[in-house]
């Protein structure tokens, strides 16, 4: 079970989520930051630019590129030289990076990027859902989702540690809900410089671009070789499953703060109904569970921190005694009518002896507010499914029928 970290009240400050992340990046001692402005990521890079303008980040260059495509491309170059490299983006910017995302993963460059999750156009919409990052799930990036700004801040250091591990060497996205987390002011303990220096040693790359030892990066691989490159990337992702857990444990040992490893569980020990979700919705679900527990409803929560690599074993174990699993997704695969976490959860239970019913709800598209009453409705529908079986496997939530 989750070790509980007690936040030291005397160390807590109230800052904006973006500032907390920018501070965390600073504390991780990056060498190159490259980003292009896009709402709601802007405050993060503005804060970083101010740190640099004030001389607060040593040995660091900040590149104000002309597009997200170049933002990440510049980091291909910097990371290949051995620089700890960071970017931040969201939505259209992340989609514009699509081609580069594959390239970074294929070249095994441990770049870390904050994604302030936002819906994708059209219609254009600047508010939160997870469609942007979910649409990049097969690009070979580790994807971690944070629940609140404390977790996202601390996750930044964990992400560098995981990505730069010699058994991993894969890039990582730290996903935080746009506006809901990027623009919220909350009390938190800012990532500590002294502890972070201990937790995250400087990046020691295996191979770099160096005139004294010339190597070729990004060669082309014909059918005789390509498959093995793909296999090794998958192997690195498999290795990351343990590393993500280890990083969370090591972080807890040093900092005393813990949010789960691949997943986290809340009130699941005796739960008949287990909800699954990622990101800031976790807080709303926990509050709803607290309310319903008082009424005797046996409901719990499985929080997914790592979407890539997908924590199949951890999920199977967590839901083994559940009578129903309800998955909430802030994204949809159009044409399948399912959110990605739902599809993949179902998939990881298939071919096992666990035949627990799994239902999915797509929720909070384009920043639509998610209320506790909506979660309560979903839970009461789950109680109905336990009695009479699945009637609707996956559905939209809170549709405004009068607009259709």
């Amino acid at each position: 079970m989750t070790p509980k970290g007690d936040l030291k009240m005397d160390k807590m400050v109230v800052v904006e989520g973006s500032y907390a992340v920018a501070h965390a990046v600073k504390v991780c001692r990056p060498n190159v930051i490259s980003a292009y402005p896009i709402t709601p990521q802007t405050h993060i890079v503005e804060d970083l630019a101010k740190f640099i303008a004030d001389g607060e980040i040593q040995n660091c260059e900040c590149i104000n590129v002309e597009s997200e495509f170049s933002a990440l491309s510049a980091l291909v170059g910097s990371s290949a030289v051995g620089a700890r490299s960071y970017s931040a983006t969201t939505s259209q910017g992340l989609e514009l990076m699509h081609e580069v995302l594959f390239n970074v993963a294929g070249m095994r460059l441990p770049i870390v990027m904050t994604v302030a999750n936002r819906a994708v156009s059209a219609p254009i919409n600047i508010w939160n859902d997870h469609q942007d990052a979910i649409s990049q799930r097969d690009t070979g990036w580790i994807q971690l989702y944070g629940e609140n700004i404390q977790e996202v801040s601390d996750m930044t250091a964990q992400a560098f540690k995981i990505a730069e591990d010699k058994d991993i060497l894969m890039p990582a996205m730290v996903c935080m809900d746009g506006f809901i987390l990027s623009h919220v002011y909350e009390p938190l303990v800012m990532l500590e410089q002294d502890l972070t220096d201990e937790f995250l040693p400087s990046y020691e790359p295996l191979n770099i671009l160096d005139p004294k030892k010339p190597l070729s990066f990004g060669a082309f691989a014909d059918p005789n070789y390509y498959t093995e490159f793909r296999y090794m990337q998958q192997k690195a992702m498999t290795n990351a499953l343990k590393k993500i857990e280890d990083a969370a444990d090591e972080f807890y040992d040093l900092f005393g703060r813990y949010y789960g490893g691949l997943i986290d569980e809340y009130q699941t020990e005796d739960a008949d109904i287990i909800l699954m979700a990622m990101g800031s919705i976790i807080g709303t679900i926990k509050d709803t569970i607290d309310k319903l527990r008082q009424k005797g409803v046996k409901v719990g929560l499985l929080k997914v921190r790592a979407f890539r690599p997908f924590p199949a074993e951890a999920i199977r174990k967590a839901v083994k005694d559940a009578k129903i699993v309800v998955v909430l997704d802030k994204n949809i695969s159009l044409g399948l009518n399912e959110g990605a976490l739902f599809t993949e959860t179902k998939s990881c239970l298939y071919n096992t002896s666990n035949h627990v019913p799994v239902v999915g709800y797509m929720i909070g598209h384009g920043g639509r507010d998610i209320r506790m009453s909506t979660i309560e409705n979903i839970i009461s529908e789950a109680q109905e499914v336990m009695k009479s079986g699945i009637k609707v496997e996956s559905q939209f939530t809170d549709l405004r029928e009068e607009l259709l």
């Binding site: 060498n31 190159v32 490259s34 040995n59 660091c60 260059e61 590149i63 104000n64 590129v65 002309e66 597009s67 495509f69 170049s70 491309s73 510049a74 980091l75 291909v76 170059g77 910097s78 990371s79 290949a80 030289v81 051995g82 620089a83 490299s85 081609e99 580069v100 390239n103 070249m107 671009l209 160096d210 005139p211 030892k213 010339p214 190597l215 070729s216 990066f217 990004g218 060669a219 082309f220 691989a221 014909d222 070789y225």
Partner: protein, 290 residues
């Protein structure tokens, strides 16, 4: 002299890219990092697990070489490793003038200390000779083919050196594979000039232009001698040096050497088209004082 670009690559006999890479490295020297966008040069020099590069070399994507170079330069500075190391991008005309133009504009505007070398063989050769914005007027390519009602590509070449000069680049020069010493010395000057510098190299492609593999240098020289490819240097936006050509050769002498222009000599109305191309050369001769 140590060979920084070695033979054994998969380029065609008489390949312009191989020559351009070799001359570029002879000018840039050993202490450099090379970025190549996608294209013939990348494909033919690095079939895994082999490489022709005796300098550190990186290929990322088609449209981002200048951005990758920006990141390399920034990282070297941030980590205190810049020293005299030069960052050199070598890209084709498609990667430079079309798909990579935005990243190049950004990198030059930001003022990174690097040199970009465009190896302009005037079409997308790696994918089979499709038209680019470097394709000259009336050239037949697979996507601007000559036909019953067409003489081929109907647009003039994009003036890339002027675009780069407009970014405030301290050093912009054109060169040609017909003049190896000219190229080597201009690359050397470009890499020794602080800031973002640019070399635009005219590079005849035996496969795409349709000429015998022994003629790469001869054809490159003829483009210069006709005035179709002026050799000049620009410093801080001003033309400071021009290679004089004396009495210019007629453009026919250049066009007739290549099958991409052969329709100009067989098709009705060809003479008028050749006159239009002669007018392009005449304009260059006048403008640059060749």
């Amino acid at each position: 002299m140590k060979q920084l670009f070695v033979s054994g690559h998969r380029g065609c006999a008489g390949c312009c890219d191989a020559m351009a890479a070799k001359f570029t490295l002879m000018g840039a020297g050993e202490d450099c990092i090379v970025v190549s966008p996608t294209g013939c040069l990348e494909v033919m020099t690095t079939p895994f697990p082999e490489t022709s590069w005796n300098v550190p070399w990186i290929h990322s994507l088609f449209e981002n070489a200048a951005a990758v170079a920006s990141g390399i330069e920034a990282a070297l500075i941030a980590m205190g490793k810049k020293g005299n190391t030069r960052v050199v991008a070598i890209g084709g005309d498609g990667a430079t003038m079309d798909i990579g133009l935005q990243a190049i504009s950004g990198a030059f505007e930001r003022g990174h200390d690097f040199t970009y070398v465009c190896v302009d063989n005037e079409a997308y050769m790696n994918t089979g000779v499709q038209r680019s914005s470097g394709t000259p007027f009336d050239a037949s390519t697979t996507t601007s083919p000559v036909g019953k009602v067409s003489f081929g590509n109907q647009r003039p070449k994009k003036n890339m050196p002027a675009i780069i000069a407009a970014h405030g680049s301290p050093y912009v020069a054109t060169t040609s594979l017909g003049y190896a010493k000219d190229m080597i010395s201009k690359v050397k000057k470009a890499t020794e000039t602080p800031g973002p510098t640019y070399i635009h190299c005219h590079a005849p492609c035996t496969t795409g232009w349709g000429f015998d593999t022994s003629k790469t240098v001869e054809i490159a020289q003829m483009a210069v001698k006709t005035g179709l490819w002026p050799l000049f240097e620009m410093e801080n936006g001003e033309v400071t040096k021009v290679r004089k050509i004396g009495k210019a050769a007629p453009v026919e002498d250049y066009l007739k050497m290549q099958s991409r222009f052969k329709h100009l000599f067989s098709k009705e109305g060809g003479a008028e088209e050749i006159a239009k191309i002669q007018a392009i050369a005449d304009k260059n001769i006048e403008y640059y004082g060749l």
